[in-house]
Structure formats: C-alpha cells, structure tokens
C-alpha cells in the first residue's frame, strides 16, 4: 500500500475523528474503508461486509431501472432535469401530509446533520449528543469550536433521555438518534414526546434534531416516528435517509422534515445541486414503493432474529436491537474479535468507546451471509478472549 493510501486510511482511522474528518464518507462506511483498504478483498470468496449498517441487497431493481431511465438527462444540472429537487420535495411532503416548505433534501442525511450543527451551534451554544452516537454532528461541532455535551445511557443502553433534557438547557442543538447508532436501542413515542416537551419548556431556543435513519427497521410497537411532533413543534426536525432500508447508501439522498422556520435556517447552508439528477430519479421511485420497504423490514427482522438467537445459543446477548445492526456484549475487546473475524473474511464494526472493551457492532447482512458469519463468530468467541493483536490503528 502506498504511503498516500495509508495516509488516507489513517485519516479515517484517527481515534479522534474531529482531527481528520475529511474523508469520513457518510454513516458507518469509515470502518469498512479502513479494512477494505488494508486487506483488499479476501482471496477467493467475497468478504461478508457487515461493518457499516448497509442494506446488503442494495436498491431494488425498480430504483436501478429508474436511474437508467434518467441517463438521457445525466448531463443536465439537477435544476434542468424533468424531475428536479422540487419534485422530490413535493413527494416527501405528500408522504407526510406536509408542505414543500417543511422539507429539505440532502445528499444523505449526513449533510443535513452537518448543516444543522453549522446553523445552530456556536462557541456559546453547545451541541448535546448521546455518546457514542452517530459521530457526524460531534465532529462538526468540534471543528466549529462549539462545546459538546455528551449524554450516556441507562442499563439497557438506551439513551438517558432525562439527562439529555437536562443537558439541553442553553444548548444550540440536541442530536437525538432514534434508534441510536451504535447501541441499536430505541425510545418509544411517549419518551420522545416527553423529552421534547421538557426541552421546549426549559430551553425553547434549543433546536432538537431527531435522526430517524433506521426508522424503517424498528419493530418495537411503542415506537412511532416523531415527524408529527416536528411538524407541530417549533425548533424540532426529523432526518431520514435513503441509505438504509431503501438500500441507496452509495447514491446519497436523505431529507429533513420540520416546521418551515426551522427548515429555512438549515436550508441556508445547503450546497446547491448536492443531489444529482440520477439520485433524484432513484429517490423518487424508491419513495413511491412502500411495499419494497415492508419486505425489506421483514427480511431484516427475520435475519436479525436468526443472528440474535445464534448468539444467545453461544451465551452472548446484546441490546434490544431495533435496527439493521446488533450491539453485542461479546465480553472481550471489539478489536481482537474484529481482527479474528476479518481473518476469516467477515468484516464487523469498529470500536465504539467507551464500550470497545466489551461490545461489538455487527450489521445485518443477508441470511446466507449471517449463517456464514455466525460460524465464524462461534469459532472466534469459542476461544479465550485476547487483547487486540495490533495496536489501535
């Protein structure tokens, strides 16, 4: 590997992501990139990539067909395309019985998160985030020099919402990832509503970002989307992405939904033409096929249950996962587990301090992939725990 490549991966692997965040390619991919780059593809069989919370099936054929249908307009700026941003905005608004001014598009929801931090935090207006959680808001806040208040978890590794509400006083932005990555846990509708209410009362100028990237994978009946709260409450907005259940992580599309005044403030930072003409066409068709998402949820639920049971059979439990990944108490450092799995062609998630000495994040692949992965897990976890064979990269 050339020095340059090494440098690129080091940037991704830097323990403090705030120092070298330029190459963080959206949610989760960072882990895979490091390993992909260092190891290359395993000889022979393709590796099982269950490190980045991606949909292993990718987008449906209807989405790929839609992209091909857009090829004749691929040379046009998105605003000149027959399906420009306004068309997707309208479709998203319709899905939620909202108005176009309630919707903001982004190339993945990551950009929206970044822009929200730029819009709402400052040296005197902290970011409040669970930690660990999706890292992009924290990385951005650190770059801006905005203070970051980290909130922990309860015994079940659910975000401590009472603490979050308390920490929100005087904050610029509260980032609430629900379900939370990497802990995979979710809060029900009433807990979310109560937290929002508490923050609105104690700190009405604080903006609350509820990230529902994994919304489509939740099966807990107490959970409901907070979109209706966002639409009816000032300073609250929800983000969604096409990267997960829609299988479009490589295509880069997501959106925010909230009251027009809130959306407007984030919109100021939006990069023009961030969503390409092909991506707009893909997202529109994806959004219109609810049946495909229902099927994907069922597929994920089944494979997730299989994997959870396989771990239980090994005497290993995890958090109550409501996502397309697991957060498992493997009773040993994630690094050693990860290295051993990688040697067997299975790529699992990176370290998530402060849980890295005990927990591993494992994304849900296809059933065939998880069957293969489980065999590897059995071998790796059947051996005596060791510390990582390598220094932390």
């Amino acid at each position: 590997m050339s020095l340059t490549r090494r440098r690129l991966f080091q940037r991704l692997a830097a323990p403090d992501l705030s120092a070298h965040a330029a190459m963080i390619a959206a949610r989760g991919r960072e882990a895979g990139l490091i390993e992909y780059g260092e190891q290359g593809m395993a000889a022979g069989a393709a590796p099982v990539r269950i490190d980045s919370n991606e949909n292993p099936l990718g987008p449906g054929q209807h989405v790929l067909d839609a992209i091909v249908g857009k090829f004749p307009e691929a040379h046009r700026y998105p605003f000149n395309a027959t399906q420009h941003e306004g068309v997707l905005i309208k479709a998203v608004a319709d899905k939620f019985q909202a108005k176009p001014e309630n919707v903001l598009l982004g190339p993945g929801s990551g950009e929206i998160l970044t822009h929200a931090v730029r819009a709402f935090t400052a040296g005197t207006r902290p970011l409040v985030t669970a930690w660990p959680s999706f890292e992009m808001p924290r990385v951005t806040a650190k770059k801006l020099g905005a203070p970051v208040k980290e909130v922990g978890f309860d015994a079940k590794l659910k975000i401590d919402v009472a603490k979050m509400a308390e920490s929100a006083k005087g904050a610029g932005l509260v980032f609430f990832c629900n379900p939370n990555n990497p802990t995979a846990t979710v809060h029900g509708k009433s807990a979310v509503a109560d937290m929002v209410k508490a923050i609105r009362t104690s700190s009405p100028d604080t903006v609350i970002l509820i990230d529902e990237a994994y919304h489509d994978y939740v099966t807990d009946p107490s959970y409901q989307s907070a979109v209706d709260i966002a639409l009816s409450t000032p300073n609250v907005f929800v983000t969604r992405t096409f990267s997960k259940a829609y299988g479009m992580a490589g295509l880069r599309a997501g959106y925010a939904i909230g009251q027009a005044d809130t959306i407007k403030q984030i919109q100021k930072f939006k990069m023009p033409y961030g969503l390409g003409t092909l991506t707009l066409g893909a997202a529109l068709v994806g959004l219109g096929n609810d049946e495909h998402i229902q099927q994907e949820r069922k597929r994920n639920t089944d494979v997730r249950a299989f994997t959870v049971k396989a771990f239980a059979d090994m005497g290993i439990t995890g958090t109550d996962t409501q996502t397309n990944f697991l957060f498992m108490d493997i009773k040993r450092p994630a690094a050693g587990f990860r290295d051993a799995c990688r040697a067997a062609g299975v790529f699992v998630g990176r370290d998530f301090p402060p849980f890295e000495k005990q927990y591993a994040r494992i994304s849900i692949g296809t059933m065939a992939e998880m069957q293969k992965a489980v065999e590897v897990f059995k071998k790796v976890l059947g051996t005596t725990p060791t510390t990582s064979s390598k220094e932390r990269r």
Partner: protein, 386 residues
C-alpha cells in the same frame, strides 16, 4: 494604477448583492418559468446552463451500470482512492494534491470557507460565477467586486491586483463564466507573482471548469503552480466536457498543505458511487476524444458567433462552451422571445443584463435551429434599456 482604473474597483458591502446574482439556483427558476405551459411545449433546445449537449459520455454511463450499480447499497470506499490515484496520474501530481468534491461547487464553497474571514474577504470579478460570493455572503465575510475591462470583458488584472491586497481569497474564474473570456497563462502568472509579493495571506482559487474548451494560444492551466505554491489552488469539474453535470463530481488540485486544510473542513460524504465510478471511466477516456469534443464545441461556437457578428451583435472572445453576446437589448426580452419558440438561453448577468445575453453552445444542429429563433427575437424592435 490610474485613478480611473481605481474607480472600477468597488467594495460591496455584505448586503450589497445587486451586482451578484444568487447562484445557479436562479437558473432553476428560469427553467421552472420555461416549464409553464407554452404554446410550443417545453423548451426543445436548452442553451442556458453550459452543459454538454451530447449528453454524458457513454463510457461513464456504462460504468455507472456496470460498476456502480452492484455497489449502490454500499457507502463508497476504496473507489475514492482509485479516483484520486487516477487524477494524480492524469495531472502528474500526487494523490495528496487532490481533494474530491460534489461538483466543483463544493470545492468553491470549501475554499471560501477556509480562506476568507470577517477581516480577510473574497475578491472576484463582476460578473463571475457566484458560488464563492454566495458562500461569503452566507458567512458574513466581505466581498469585493472588480469590474471587467470594458473593451474586451476580460478580467482587469491591474484592478484585480489592487483589490486583492489583504484579501483572504481571490476567485479567479478562467475562462470566466458568464463572459466566456480567458486570461493567458503568462498574464495569470504575472498577476500571481505580483500578488504573492504584495499580499502575504491571500490565496487564489483558479476555477478551470471550462478548461477543456479553451482554444486560444497561451491559455494554460495553473495546476503546476498550484502544486508548488500553497497559496494557489485549482478547481476542475467533470460536469462540462464529460457531460456529468447531473452526476456531481469535481476536484481541487493544490499544494498538499492547502489540500489538507480544505479537506479538514468538509467531508466527501456527498459524492455518490455513481459519480466516483463515472469519474473513473471518464479518466480512462483517451485525450483524443477530449480534443474532438473541443473541436466540436469550437465549430458550433464559431458558427454561432459569426452569425451574431455578421448581424452587428458582438460576441466576446469565447474560450468556453458558452458565448456572451452584445445583443443591444435586455437579455430578458430576448430570452422571453426565444423561449416562445422553444429555445432557452441564459439568465440575466448584471451589470450586463441590459445589453448582453449568455448562450450555451449546443450541437451544430441545435445552433443552426437556434439562430433561426434568434433571428425572430432580434427582429423585434429593441425596447429602451430602462
């Protein structure tokens, strides 16, 4: 610098946006306007956004299908490195000299963010492509506009040099959108040398979005200077020559320290796997194809420029895939007349909107049809340029 020259330099307050139109998004509303029911249907010839009329290069589309589709569900990973390596090879630089962006738009915004501040502002010609000015305005950083040389509508380098002292960033769009004129390599270097001496903390962003379409003798890239000099950075895009405006990928080339500084600000998470695989395919397209594309554009351009010149409407010396023509009437009247016959031309570009129009170069066939529409539009008496 003479006093008269100096008077061309205007310092615009943050709120003084009159001479700078908001970014290309404005063109979106233009198209929306075109999308209103028209007697003749939607515009059949789009000459408003400097796109490649041939469409996207076929190898790019094949790569999206063949290489991007199987990875569409994955966050882009190693392909970033492949594209950076290929770009480095193409330009004879190292990957550390390259930063990828979601179109050059992201590069322009990042440069403005990193190099301007409340005390060290942005300097650019008026008019020039507006992305940097839009971003500086968003951040509340001062903007200084420098008028063009009135005779040939080229950047006035003396005035620019004067205005650049103490600036954070100079946006040097060459060829310059929307006026289509270019500055030679030697004149650019003279300007850069003077600026380096007189303004220790100023960075220059040379936007070479239209590089492939520059045909005049002496026009050259600033990439060799940028990789050596931490205060010069070049922006390029796949949007134009390769017909990838809807796919969103561009890049910056500069000194490794400059690139690292820019890279630390924003992420590359906006770039799709389609853009990356498409760029990889575009980088494998032989130079001979690029030469042919340059020739094709130059032929359609000179046909159209001659058509206007023969009728007394003077074009600037276009070095790009668009033209800036003195039609002696408001662009708006001309545009509306053309639109009625299905041809969409460029929006207003103050301070020239009362006399000049920007027209992108379509295919020869499109331009032959378009001039017939232009003929009708120009036959209408010019209203007073009030």
């Amino acid at each position: 610098m003479s006093l008269s020259r100096r008077s061309f330099v205007q310092t615009l307050g943050v709120g003084a946006t009159g001479l700078w139109i908001t970014s290309r998004g404005r063109e979106g509303s233009l198209f929306a306007q075109a999308n209103q029911p028209l007697a003749g249907g939607p515009p059949s010839i789009i000459l408003s956004s400097n796109e490649n009329p041939l469409g996207t290069h076929k190898d790019v589309l094949a790569a999206i299908r063949g290489a991007a589709f199987p990875e569409a569900g994955r966050y882009p990973g190693a392909i970033f490195v492949e594209v950076m390596d290929l770009l480095a090879k193409k330009h004879g630089v190292k990957p550390e000299n390259i930063l990828l962006g979601s179109g050059s738009t992201q590069i322009l915004r990042t440069a403005t963010h990193v190099f301007t501040s409340k005390t060290a502002g942005l300097v650019a010609a008026i008019p020039a492509y507006e992305e940097c000015a839009d971003y500086a305005r968003l951040m509340g950083h001062p903007i200084t506009g420098v008028k063009l040389n009135p005779t040939d509508l080229k950047m006035d380098l003396d005035a620019l040099q004067q205005a650049s002292k103490g600036a954070g960033l100079v946006f040097f769009c060459n060829p310059n959108n929307p006026v289509a004129t270019a500055i030679t390599g030697s004149d650019t270097k003279t300007y850069l040398n003077m600026l380096m001496k007189q303004s220790a903390n100023t960075t220059v962003l040379a936007d070479e979005a239209y590089f492939e379409y520059g045909t005049m003798p002496g026009y050259e890239t600033m990439i060799p200077i940028a990789v050596q000099n931490p205060r010069v950075v070049v922006a390029r895009t796949f949007s134009k020559c390769f017909g990838m405006a809807g796919i969103r990928i561009g890049y910056a080339i500069g000194h490794k320290d400059t690139i690292a500084k820019m890279g630390d600000w924003d992420s590359v998470g906006d770039i799709s796997v389609m853009a990356l695989q498409g760029a990889k395919a575009a980088l494998a397209v032989p130079d001979s194809w690029v030469k042919e594309e340059q020739k094709r554009n130059a032929a359609a351009r000179s046909f159209t420029q001659k058509w206007f010149a023969d009728r007394g409407y003077q074009p600037t010396d276009s070095q790009s895939n668009f033209m800036f023509i003195n039609i002696k009437r408001p662009a708006r009247d001309f545009r509306e007349a053309c639109l009625k016959e299905g041809v969409l031309v460029g929006r207003d570009f103050p301070p020239y909107e009362k006399t000049h129009v920007r027209i992108s170069v379509g295919t020869m066939e499109e331009m032959q049809k378009a001039v017939q529409v232009f003929e009708h539009a120009l036959a209408q008496p010019a209203k007073a340029a009030a």
